[in-house]
């Protein structure tokens, strides 16, 4: 990209983005460029793909959950092209790093949307939750010792219980399912529940670390 084009791009992004100032946008664009350069071996085009994205988020924010990262990617990838453009990148990071509760919630709903959209039933939500919580302890299940197995069985029971608890707490219209409105209401009441279905937003420490790392490079 020519220097002039970069400048134009930065200007337009600065105008559209609520969360970053000009120098910060510049940094993010720079970062994007390096990432694209890295990705170009896999994928040619004006963006980078799932793997690079996942790697980046993993190293920057310590998000490990693959399922979730996939969904974060889909959320970033508004145009559904399978690659993230520079605009999507800056806007997505805006929500991730500096987003208000509203924006984060909307993003979350987007994240969870696919599942609900496909199977908006109680069981599916349950299965999803089970998968979520089961996932993190899969290492336990893979262990072969019988004592561990017993523990795992207990844990699974616990997970079921927990799903009940969560449903009871968040199901405001008592239809046995979690709808968007339910979720929205629950999160408004208790912002902690934002992450109830698995972590996909970075915590503040890694955000600060990331911002320091990226924005420090600003040529002032």
């Amino acid at each position: 990209m020519s220097r002039k084009r970069v400048k134009l791009l930065v200007d337009s992004l600065t105008r559209s983005s609520k969360h970053f100032n000009k120098s910060e946008v510049e940094c993010l664009v720079n970062l994007f460029d390096t990432l694209v350069a890295k990705a170009s071996s896999h994928f040619a085009g004006a963006g980078f793909d799932r793997t690079v994205f996942r790697d980046t988020l993993h190293s920057a924010f310590g998000l490990t959950d693959e399922v979730m990262l996939d969904r974060v990617f889909s959320a970033f990838d508004r145009s559904n092209t399978g690659s993230i453009t520079v605009v999507e990148w800056v806007e997505g990071l805006g929500v991730l790093l500096r987003g208000t509760l509203e924006e984060k919630m909307k993003c979350k709903i987007d994240l969870y949307a696919n599942i609900w959209y496909l199977k908006p039933s109680k069981t599916s939500a349950n299965i999803h939750l089970l998968a979520q919580w089961g996932h993190s302890s899969s290492c336990i299940s893979s262990s072969s010792s019988s004592a561990w197995k017993q523990k795992w069985r207990k844990y699974k029971m616990g997970v079921k219980d927990l799903v009940e608890i969560a449903l009871k707490k968040m199901d405001y219209d008592h239809d046995g399912k979690l709808s968007f409105t339910d979720f929205e209401k629950a999160v408004r009441e208790e912002s902690l529940l934002l992450e109830a279905f698995g972590p996909c937003l970075p915590d503040i420490k890694s955000i600060i670390a990331f911002e320091q790392k990226v924005f420090r490079e600003t040529p002032k």
Binding site: Q132, A166, K169, L192, E195, A196, I204, I208
Partner: protein, 818 residues
């Protein structure tokens, strides 16, 4: 350490050995002992390196105490002082608990240490230098017994109960036992395995000695642990809080918040299920979500006294102070709010201070983010910080710490904002701190009075109350009183008097009026606002703290002549005189002052006399409190002066004159001064003076003559002047050596002293011997200067005195030379 709790290596465990200790008594060499299931015995000591000679070198004793009794006479001596009833249980059960600490301390702290380990609080905290800072904790008697009763595998929750029991008993027994502890010998128990983790008994000991104004956890009835629905709910959720990944924990925490956490059963259920420990442990993690969730619960349940103490005991405060450094604002707010709840007792406040919490809390007030959108958040942060500071500011040292951390300008800045939610804690903190002179100075110089006055007219009664009590405390300083007037704070104060429902507010407002009324100009303002009339209506049916302030305010207003008659016209004298028979000493002091003020007007005096007020005042001279005595004596002065037939009235009090003369033996300067003033007034009546002379008033007054206190000098000189009028008192004063010191009073700088002294000297100079003494002390020169004074009384007295001296000189000359 091995999983079964033993310290001994496995090959020794087969012999039943549990651990090896080194005990260093005061009077003998270090003892190397082995604790085994069979009992305690001396082993061969430490060989080179870490090896221990396991060989048994002594008889087998059933426990350490028996062993030490045998070995160390000093130990027996000190044990005897502790009235310690030893238990007959098999001893080795306790040694199970002597686990992971290297303890330095006195014999009691050894037991204290045992208690600590039993309680599962082997967590490390700061350890003082050996034996020096350790304040012995007297809780071991209790703990010993409870330890003996406890089964080997002590459950999680029982230790907490014990520590509470001990916490309670210690405060009761500490004072008596403290004396014995100073001499107690040092038993140094050292784990052979050199484990460094140790607990700090001094913390507990020190704090439990500070019991003033502290809340004490009330012992809960044992029966109340009936397992309610909440209990099971909590227990179920506790399971998920404990186990599972962060997401599961967060959901469980959120669900727990849906329980009714303000309910006591629920709070205690959280404590009893061991959930509290988990919540506190969660604070120590890196997971912000979990920390937030946990703090949200802790904030709620820390309303409970028991929970507060438990949180402090579990080291929760330290972690919360650490959280104050977190980058997450919400988390900081929650931590500060929880600290505000927990820091309601002294030990907690001390912990917060010692871990640098004050500085961090002050920093919360500092936060300014850019942009207007963040302002709400800033206010919230500051509010939480202020709340915590408010709680902390109840300790004097914390007040200093806040000042050092630069908190005052920040408080001043926030005081200017208009949100009631933040103003309440800010003003609350200021109000707490205003007891320190340095804060009062700062409040004045930072211009906070203006805002305090402004907030008096706020809607919020709590805020009004704190503002009023801040002014109450600040108005001790004259400049502040003037500032309050300049900022027109007196009118809102008088307006607030109409709100007589809220007693706390009323107490604070009347207090502020009282202190403000010390300045004359303020009294004039109050007259304008008809405050005196309102105050008089508040004399009946009010709680004591309101009464004290109301009476105090009236007493100050009485200094103004107009108000004295106002009080009479409003019918205020009867209730005031009635209060003379109260018992509260602070109240009595103020009542005395008010009565004294009223009595300055002869018409009032009639009323007081008809209500038998003088007799009541007189009987207050018997009060053991010197302040009450002094104020009563002051009040008597105008009474005696203005009453009709005062001489007869005074004589009618049987033993009254003897009583007042005997008060001259008091050690309190103020009492002496006031009594001298009263005697000066009483002595105006010849008969009374005669009675007082019989009771030996002359030598008692003479004894006081060698004082440097100008106020006392003045009233003493007056008393002497009046007492000279009877019989041979003039000669007696000379004989009791009162004249020479009196002559020196003329060198003082206070003109009032000069006047009284000149009067006294004039009276005394009627006796030739006194004239000689005066002349020897160089009085004439000083008096000559005073003849030129503008004060008529002084002039006259000085001249009279000189005349007397001169006359004597002439007479002697005449006698000599014929």
């Amino acid at each position: 350490m091995f999983p079964n709790g033993c310290r001994a290596p496995p090959w020794r465990q087969v012999h039943g050995e549990i651990c090896y200790l080194v005990i260093k008594p005061h009077d003998t060499d270090p003892l190397y002992i082995t604790c085994s299931t069979a009992g305690v015995f001396l082993n061969g000591g430490q060989l080179k390196g870490k090896e221990i000679d396991y060989e048994r070198k002594s008889n087998l004793y059933k426990d350490i105490v028996t062993f030490l009794r045998e070995r160390s006479p000093r130990f027996v001596e000190n044990m005897a002082k502790q009235e310690y009833s030893f238990f007959k249980e098999p001893a080795h059960e306790n040694y199970q608990h002597v686990e992971d600490a290297e303890i330095f301390g006195q014999s009691q702290s050894f037991h204290e240490f045992r208690r600590m380990t039993v309680c599962g609080r082997g967590k490390s905290s700061s350890l003082g230098s050996p034996g020096q800072r350790l304040k012995p904790c007297m809780k071991w008697k209790n703990s010993e017994l409870s330890a003996s009763q406890r089964p080997k595998s002590s459950s999680d929750k029982s230790p907490k109960k014990d520590s509470e029991e001990e916490g309670k008993s210690s405060t009761v027994s500490l004072t008596t036992k403290k004396k014995a502890s100073g001499k107690s010998k040092t038993v140094k128990i050292q784990e052979a395995s050199k484990c460094k983790a140790s607990s700090s008994p001094e913390d507990v000991g020190e704090s439990s000695s500070e019991t003033d104004e502290d809340e004490q956890p009330l012992r809960r009835q044992e029966g109340s642990t009936d397992l309610s629905a909440e209990y099971w709910g909590v227990q179920k959720l506790a399971k998920y809080v404990k186990g599972g990944d962060p997401t599961a924990t967060v959901i469980a925490l959120c669900s727990m918040r849906d329980l009714n956490l303000s309910q006591e059963t629920c709070q205690l259920a959280i404590k009893d299920t061991g959930c509290l420990e988990v919540l506190i442990n969660l604070l120590d993690t890196e997971e912000i979500k979990c920390q937030t969730g946990s703090l949200k619960i802790l904030k709620e349940i820390s309303q409970n006294v028991l929970i507060r103490h438990a949180i402090a005991d579990l080291g929760g405060l330290e972690i919360m102070v650490k959280i104050l450094d977190s980058p997450d604002t919400d988390l900081k707010c929650l931590a500060a709010e929880t600290i505000a709840n927990v820091a309601r007792f002294k030990r907690a406040r001390k912990t917060v201070r010692q871990h640098g919490g004050i500085k961090r809390l002050v920093e919360l007030l500092e936060s300014i983010s850019v942009g207007s959108s963040c302002q709400a958040k800033d206010t919230e942060t500051a509010r939480c910080g202020a709340l915590a500071l408010w709680s902390c500011s109840r300790s004097t040292k914390n007040k200093k710490a806040i000042r050092k951390a630069g908190g005052i300008p920040l408080l001043a800045r926030w005081l200017k904002c208009s949100h009631t939610s933040i103003l309440v804690p800010i003003v609350g903190t200021l109000q707490e701190c205003a007891s320190e002179p340095s804060y009062r100075l700062a409040i004045r110089t930072e211009g906070m009075i203006e805002n305090l006055v402004k907030n008096l007219s706020s809607e919020n009664e709590e805020l009004q109350m704190h503002c009023a009590s801040a002014i109450f405390k600040c108005a001790e300083d004259e400049e502040i009183r003037d500032l309050v007037r300049k900022h027109e704070g007196l009118q809102p104060l008088s307006v607030l008097l109409d709100n007589s429902e809220n007693k706390q507010l009323l107490a604070a407002v009347t207090g502020a009026i009282w202190k403000c009324a010390i300045s004359r100009e303020n009294v004039l303002k109050f007259q304008e606002y008809k405050t005196v009339e309102t105050l008089v209506t508040l004399l009946t049916d009010q709680p004591e703290e309101v009464l004290i302030n109301v009476i105090g305010a009236l007493g100050e207003c009485c200094q103004e002549e107009e108000n004295r008659s106002t009080i009479r016209k409003c019918g205020g004298i009867a209730p005031i005189v009635k209060l003379l028979s109260a018992t509260n000493q602070a109240l009595l002091v103020n009542v005395n002052k008010a009565v004294g003020g009223c009595a300055m007007e002869p018409e009032n005096m009639l009323v007081i006399d008809s209500l038998d007020g003088v007799r009541l005042l007189w009987s207050l001279l018997k009060n053991p409190n010197p302040e009450v005595q002094a104020s009563a004596a002051w009040a008597l002065c105008p009474c005696v002066e203005n009453a009709k037939n005062s001489g007869e009235m005074v004589r009618s009090f049987v033993g009254g004159l003897e009583l007042i003369v005997n008060l001259l033996k008091s050690k309190d300067k103020e009492v002496l001064t006031s009594v001298c003033a009263a005697i000066a007034n009483i002595a105006k009546d010849q008969e009374n003076l005669a009675v007082m002379t019989d009771h030996g008033v002359v030598p008692l007054l003479s004894k006081l003559a060698n004082t440097n206190n100008n106020k006392l000098r003045r009233h003493l000189a007056e008393a002497i002047a009046h007492c000279c009028m009877w019989g041979s008192n003039r000669v007696a004063f000379g004989e009791t050596k009162a004249v020479a010191p009196l002559a020196r009073y003329l060198k003082a700088k206070d003109p009032l002293v000069h006047r009284a002294t000149a009067l006294a000297l004039y009276q005394l100079s009627e006796d030739p011997n006194n004239c000689v003494i005066m002349h020897e002390n160089g009085v004439v020169k000083l008096l000559l200067a005073m003849v030129g004074s503008t004060d008529d009384a002084l002039q006259e007295a000085a001249a009279g005195c000189i005349a007397n001296i001169r006359r004597l000189a002439l007479a002697t000359e005449k006698a000599k030379y014929g």
